[in-house]
Symmetry: C2
Subunit: 299 residues, 2 copies
Amino acid sequence: MNFTSLHEFVALAKSRPKRRIAVAAAEDEEVLSAIYQAYLQGIAEPVLIGKTSRINVIAEANGYDLSPFQIIHEESPEKCAEIAVNLIISGNADILMKGAISTAPLMRAVLNKDGGLRKNDLLSHFAFIQTKYYHKLLAVSDAAMNINPSLQDKIAIIKNCTEVFIKLGAEKPKIAVLAPLEKVNDKIQSTVDAAMLKKMNLTGEISDCLIDGPLALDNAVSKKAAEHKGIVSELAGDADLLLAPDLNAGNILYKSMMFLSDGLSAAVILGASAPIVLTSRADNELSKMYSIALAASLV
Amino acid sequence: MNFTSLHEFVALAKSRPKRRIAVAAAEDEEVLSAIYQAYLQGIAEPVLIGKTSRINVIAEANGYDLSPFQIIHEESPEKCAEIAVNLIISGNADILMKGAISTAPLMRAVLNKDGGLRKNDLLSHFAFIQTKYYHKLLAVSDAAMNINPSLQDKIAIIKNCTEVFIKLGAEKPKIAVLAPLEKVNDKIQSTVDAAMLKKMNLTGEISDCLIDGPLALDNAVSKKAAEHKGIVSELAGDADLLLAPDLNAGNILYKSMMFLSDGLSAAVILGASAPIVLTSRADNELSKMYSIALAASLV
């Protein structure tokens, strides 16, 4: 099962019961716009938590009819995050979305040991990117959360990502562990980690996916490039997911596809007991809507 | 002075006396093809060093007339590299090009303390990339040589790159020091290095260029993204050069623009007393020719 368009997530989300999305500090014009579009598309039922008066001003200015929405008044962004997290814990919401709150306090509420949303070993960022330069959606992780992931962290990131593919009905995602070259060089940790991850996949320690690496990006995404270099790999030119060496590389890879190519993305934070939508100001409207649709497809 | 097309280097190289290019271990079909095209374009006068019989077989099979070329017979690739380096030292060649020889022995000849081509503190890879997703050529360094550059190494890379722009008649290249975000975070070395490089530029310790950083890629190449995030920088959206945090990120950035976008590139190794052309099998014909043209424009 290959995904070729982010719009498939909109269709998928629409085909299922509407997911309730708790927006922490919803008094943000761009977030409200994205959530309203998602509501109109029939993919999400918003629960807005935040400054009611400010939310209403934004809604009026933009002509949004918020009467079908549940709105919970709360001034403090930190408390908004707690309320949103509690809605998910109590089964009254399915997805968490970041509004006018910084990432740090939102994550504190998520990771709170007493009543947070901890589930897997680690939270990680996951993005599907649609580009005409690849024959299917290409996933990238981690472009935004983990600064310098250890081998154990990379195993946790792979687990988070693999769960996405399985939830979407895809089998054994092909994961290319990126490095600057194919040879293991002990001066380049990314090549060492990649070789170990591949080995752990072969022995079954990491399952439900097919891992190859170290692979340079050209050989991960271009069969022609791989053939040219004599690289034999089931993944070459057909990777579903690019596992970045670290945040520097992951962030630059993601942004290169978005700002120096024609990329469109859908991104979520994985590893908590609910998907977290954490869009950035730099994302365009469509990407924000796709992120909500992807999150709705995962619960 | 803005470059918008790699073809400008072909025009520039053509307008000047032909540069002599010493090809070490020239018995390589793709290298010979690139060098022959460059010769036909009038931008390089090849000196081929290598296995004469093999060179002639390739030339005959492809219909190349090598009669105007100087050919020096040598079986050993290592000795070919030494001969090529000596041709440059003696003033009988201007550019070094890698043929059927690994990078390591070629670099050993270049870096040889007794009679190599050492000049600046460090050798570094430099690429100009042409893409319809940017309003001018975008340079990237270092995508291929320096694994984990220290602050001092980054200063040396910036010096190498700045020399390129100055040689091409451009003034004060705008250098964006990339990181995953704009805030300095002592857990992310790329942000710390970037802040120090910016500071050293402000105090004049690093001159002839305009440095800003840390900058995430989106804000370095998109004025809209920077404005959206309230980032005020003379560089935002107008960087001439992206300085990558390390090899992982640099290599992935370069390859993303080449294999997940529409990029065409011209690349050279800088820092030696002559430009070094070190094309890869994965490069297309046009990129190889542009690399030779760029090298010819730098001497």
